[in-house]
Subunit: 178 residues, 2 copies
DNA sequence: CCATATAACTTAACATGTTAAGCAGATTTG
DNA sequence: CAAATCTGCTTAACATGTTAAGTTATATGG
């Protein structure tokens, strides 16, 4: 099902209406946000089936994966590392705890802070999934080229950096009433 | 970030703490999916406040934006262009129609197909938002560099292409029971 | 100390992502 | 042409994204 039918092909335009809006669809489709979205989706499409077969979502995998690299970690720090917003992380940790894939306690020195670690069961799951994921990643690297992949990531990091600089500058836009 | 406190209890890590799981956090954080996710998030962070001030989400904006480039479009084709899954699009179209930003009807030749177009009200909204978005995009282009931006998008497209080729090849992985 | 402001989550509410079903209209077959 | 099948959405159900409030615990100021 690679190809669909032709988009519209001026499907019977009886009135001969001189249309104004017609041209720049390509431009839209090539915008940076769309390019990034499609690229990421293309990548994740490779991993999702495998993760799903183990009952894990992408985000749950990110969290568990991050937890394997540390002994324990505070919730806020985990949010930054796994790149999740607080509320999402909060829900996911609740579920992962219910599934006994992680363990939680509170920091002694500051009862507000939660400290998380992966459980033996979680570690076992990760070890079962990891080979698949690594194989897929290796295949992507091979297909695209290790060098090119490195360049791409450098460029993405630089883009991040450029945008971080923008944040500090003026946000003199917003809407009409804000 | 760069400097958080050390993860676990040995906050004063004077040297030779032979921890087990410690090393590959960097690797995780540098994975391709994470790089793409962070880059895209950094980009969208620039646009969201402006869109939000006009009561639009990113996806709603994508749809309206796409609709400005055509006279009418079928739902399935719109889904491909705006890169949304059917169910998401279905919900969003329902809401946009309720807000009278779009208009719908069914194709005469095939009553299954829905045909969508932007309404005058929707067009007006787009015209109000567009200058902001274009200014932001121009600023991004300026900061990052037009040439580099072009290269980045070429590389992203090539990545997509490489991965599309993978789809056709073997998916001889999946989980244990699939 | 106590009132207030902060911090670190957690909940709530709404919108979208994702997969699986459901449904009506269209196409294919016998 | 009627049953089976396929298409093009739409709903349902569950998970996450996103912003705003709420809660409890610390830190601060007086």
């Amino acid at each position: 099902m690679a190809d669909k039918k032709p988009p519209n092909g001026s499907r019977s335009d009886p009135g001969g209406a001189p249309e104004l809006r017609r041209a720049p669809m390509r431009e839209f489709s090539r915008s940076l946000p769309m390019s990034l979205l499609r690229a990421r989706e293309a990548v994740m499409r490779q991993f999702r089936p495998s993760l799903r077969s183990y009952g894990l979502t992408e985000q749950q995998w990110r969290i568990l994966r991050a937890l394997t690299t540390v002994d324990t970690i505070e919730v806020t720090e985990l949010a930054r590392v796994a790149f999740l917003l607080g509320p999402s992380l909060s829900r996911i940790l609740r579920d992962l705890e219910a599934r006994e894939l992680i363990e939680r306690r509170t920091a002694e020195a500051d009862l507000r802070r939660g400290v998380v670690s992966i459980s033996p069961k979680g570690l076992k799951l990760i070890e079962a999934v990891a080979p698949n994921s690594e194989a897929i990643y290796a295949e992507i690297t091979h297909r695209y080229g290790a060098r090119k992949l490195g360049e791409l990531q450098d460029m993405l990091a630089e883009l991040e950096h450029s945008l971080a600089a923008m944040e500090l500058a003026g946000e003199g836009d917003a809407g009409p009433d804000e």
